[in-house]
């Protein structure tokens, strides 16, 4: 009798692992804005994170990946709608605000959970309560940057550069204007300028930079969207202190490396993931073990998304469906053991409460300054 009881207990424990998963999780991406190398970096991290949570075999069974290659700007919609058509119960991935905004519309329409890695566009907070991002909001991005500038460049004249072809950058323009009117930012002397259609500075602003009218410049878009600007600044020998938004700290960018390599003046960057922090050590070690190299920020964002995806699946009691996953997510919107430690989401969808740090580039690499 005791033997049968023990056998029943063992079988009961093994049953969930022995049965084939009857649901699917979707991970999607497109190369519309973020290139395939960076997309692959997010997926590597996600794969590591979700396998940590659900195990290799289960992930093989339940994870459906749909990466749409090509130049179509609607690639994210195609990827997301194809995943929904396949019956996934939740959608993850779609790095970059452009793709995540498009995919979020599909998820919202299909009423499935959608979580994007590190996207900050304010629009993601307005889609609905099924759409989330591990990134912070643009409001927080801008206010943290203004706080940084108040601390390091108070009363100095600076130039915030907006890229009108990048939706996250463009969305920051109004937020900057709005927050600069706040009395707390009165001691900031900031001009905002849009790049022209060639994604370069207009001549008059370039002349001002050459004359030394500005003490620093701020980048708001992804480094890959600022190649022309970077070349323009270099060819005009403009070397000013640079403060880059978290977009620069989200991806592993060679454009950023090339830009920084020629600079003598300081380069600061907003970042959520800080290499070497205690919460990130386990990730960095396991990543290197699995892939044979040190992780980059996109790997870390992918990993955290994988932990979130695995955690929410594990939190579902009973049958996993789109509704139960959504319910489990809403029931507990905080997630642990991430590279950034703990991450919580708001009640009505949208951004996480990820902490924003500022890193300064030194000979040893990026080091936190704030």
């Amino acid at each position: 009798m005791k033997m049968f009881l023990n056998l029943f207990i063992v079988l009961s424990c093994l049953l969930p692992f022995g049965l084939k998963a009857n649901f699917k999780l979707g991970y999607g991406s497109s190369t519309a804005v973020v290139n395939s190398r960076i997309q692959e970096g997010f997926l590597m991290g996600f794969d590591l994170g979700i396998r940590k949570m659900l195990g290799d075999k289960r992930v093989r069974e339940l994870l459906t990946i749909n990466q749409v290659e090509g130049a179509s700007q609607l690639g994210a919609i195609q990827s997301a709608s194809e995943l929904v058509e396949k019956g996934v119960v939740a959608l993850f991935g779609f790095p970059g605000s452009h793709d995540s905004l498009l995919a979020a519309k599909i998820a919202q329409k299909a009423n499935v959970l959608f979580v994007a890695p590190g996207c900050n566009h304010n629009g993601l907070g307005k889609v609905g309560d099924t759409v989330y991002t591990t990134g912070h909001s643009m409001d927080r991005e801008v206010s943290s940057m203004l706080d940084f500038l108040k601390r390091f460049y108070s009363k100095k004249k600076g130039l915030v550069i907006i890229n009108p072809s990048a939706s996250p950058s463009l969305s920051q323009e109004d937020i900057f204007k709005q927050q600069l009117q706040d009395k707390s930012n009165a001691n900031l002397n900031i001009s905002i300028v849009r790049l022209n259609l060639d994604l370069q500075l207009p001549n008059e602003e370039l002349d001002k930079l050459k004359k030394g009218d500005y003490s620093y410049i701020c980048f708001t878009a992804y480094p890959e969207a600022l190649v022309s600007l970077s070349n323009q600044l270099k060819s005009n020998s403009i070397d000013l202190p640079t403060v880059a938004g978290s977009a620069w700290g989200t991806v592993d960018s060679d454009v950023m490396r090339r830009y920084i390599s020629t600079k003598k003046s300081p380069f600061y960057m907003a970042a959520v993931w800080v290499r070497g922090r205690p919460s990130s050590v386990y990730f960095e070690r396991t990543f290197k073990l699995r892939y044979g190299r040190d992780p980059t920020p996109d790997n870390a964002f992918g990993y955290d998304l994988g932990i979130v995806a695995g955690s929410v699946v594990k939190r579902v009691a009973g049958k996993v469906t789109a509704a139960t996953i959504l319910s489990a997510f809403k029931k507990n919107k905080c997630f642990y053991n991430l590279t950034v430690g703990k991450l919580c989401f708001g009640d009505s969808g949208g951004h996480s409460d990820a902490k924003i740090s500022y890193l300064k580039y030194t000979k040893k690499g990026f080091e936190p300054v704030l």
Binding site: Q73, Q78, P164, S167
Partner: protein, 445 residues
């Protein structure tokens, strides 16, 4: 228009008026057809241009629409608008915008609206579409056919108008005016009794027609005259009988006269009786029932002798009878009417001589199938223009002191033909004439 045309052509010329109406209708209908053709070609050219512009715009939009639609969805409206404005100017569009799919008009889209096909391989939901309208004002210029087409169309219209005008003018000149002239001639005939067709300008079949009408008219006049002659003949025959009876009584008591004179009077009286009998027969039966003679040569010789006596005062004019050089198988009978014709022709020949050395020769020649009685003179001759019509119609000769109508010659020719023979005239102006009467042998028997 109708009043104007009626006023212009008067109420008489119904056919001409109808012709003008028809032509006006044809010109209007032709112009309308040309206008329709112009419209059709214009519309076709416009449709082709529109279709091309539409295909071009659609293709270009298809290449770019994903970006614009995505940017619209992620809130890059301003940047989308900049690109759309550039694209609009480049492609010649009236407007182009990205609109929510729910804003597409339900009604059938006009052909200048471009909404690229959104059917994709996967079941991608469609949130928005690119909606463009072609700037048709740019295409309107293509609605006008090219200059070459317009030139050809204009030339065709001119040619068409020219044909219409020429045909109208042709009908007026060649048909209406001759018919109208003929009508006027008939009107004049009714009013004044003269029928003049010489002034009518006509050609071709119309000329033949008018000439035929003229000929018929003249024949009818001759018929009337012949009828009158019939009446006169009756009267003359009747009136001659009493004097002839008196002459017959007197002839018996003419022994004192020379033989020649007595014989001449007897023969002349006999011939007058014969003429009177013929005239009576003609008036009763409508044709001459002729007496017959037994010997042609003797018969002709008698006439010659009679003429010599009749014209004995013309001492300077010789009348010679030449006998037939070959032996003539004399017919037993010959129609006596021929004698009258010979007598007339001899008179004409003598009368035509106006100089001193006049010579009239008469004789009989034997032919293969008949005989020729010839009378030649060295008189004034007959003009060529008269010779052509002599015997065909009644004409005036150049006889001295005579205003004859040529009726005798006309009837002589008519008679000769009626009995299977013929009458020929050869003449040289100023030199003389030769008249030949041809008799077929069977008519002589």
């Amino acid at each position: 228009m109708k009043t104007f045309i009626k006023g212009y052509f008067g109420s008489k010329y119904i056919l001409l008026r109808h012709l003008v109406y028809t032509q006006i209708v044809v010109i209007i209908a032709g112009s309308f057809c040309i206008f329709l053709a112009y419209q059709y070609v214009s519309r076709s050219v416009y449709k082709v241009s529109l279709s091309r512009a539409r295909s071009l715009a659609e293709g270009e939009i298809l290449l770019r629409q994903d970006k614009w639609r995505a940017w619209d969805l992620v809130g890059l409206n301003e940047f989308v608008n900049v690109e759309l404005n550039d694209f609009k100017d480049k492609m010649g569009l009236e407007y182009i915008k990205v609109i929510p799919v729910s804003d597409i008009p339900i009604a059938l889209l006009p052909e200048d609206i471009v909404v690229p096909n959104l059917q994709l391989k996967s079941k991608m939901p469609v949130f928005n579409v690119v909606f463009a309208k072609l700037d048709t004002s740019r295409l309107i210029s293509t609605q006008v056919p090219n200059k070459e087409f317009l030139t050809i169309l204009f030339l065709c219209a001119l040619l068409f108008l020219g044909v219409i005008i020429y045909s109208a003018s042709y009908v007026v000149r060649k048909i209406h005016q001759p018919i109208h002239g003929l009508g006027m001639a008939f009107e004049a005939l009714e009013k004044s009794g003269s029928f003049e067709t010489g002034k009518i300008k006509a050609s071709g079949e119309m000329k033949d027609f008018i000439q035929a009408v003229d000929k018929i008219y003249k024949r009818s006049i001759e018929s009337e005259r012949t009828l009158a002659l019939g009446h006169i003949a009756t009267q003359v025959a009747h009136d001659i009988r009493s004097p002839l009876a008196a002459l017959a009584v007197v002839t018996g008591s003419l022994q004192n006269l020379p033989d020649d004179a007595r014989k001449l009077i007897c023969e002349a009286t006999g011939r007058i009786r014969t003429i009177a009998n013929d005239l009576l027969n003609y008036s009763k039966k409508g044709e001459l029932v002729e007496s017959e003679v037994l010997d042609l040569q003797n018969y002709i010789l008698e006439i010659v002798q009679e003429k010599k006596l009749e014209w004995k005062n013309r001492t300077k004019t010789k009348i010679i009878f030449t006998e037939c050089p070959s032996r003539i198988q004399h017919p037993t009978k010959v129609l006596k009417n021929i004698g009258r014709i010979v007598s007339n022709v001899l008179n004409n020949a003598i009368e035509s001589i106006q100089h001193d050395n006049g010579l009239v020769t008469i004789g009989v020649n034997s032919l293969a199938n008949g005989y020729e009685i010839f009378i030649s003179d060295n008189g004034c001759g007959i003009p060529d223009s008269l010779i052509r019509v002599l015997g065909e119609v009644q004409v005036k000769s150049n006889k001295e002191g005579d205003a004859g109508s040529g009726v005798a010659l006309y009837y002589a020719k008519k008679y000769m033909i009626s009995i299977g023979g013929d009458l020929n005239i050869k003449s040289s102006l100023g030199k003389g004439s030769r008249v030949s009467l041809f008799l077929k042998a069977k008519e002589l028997s």
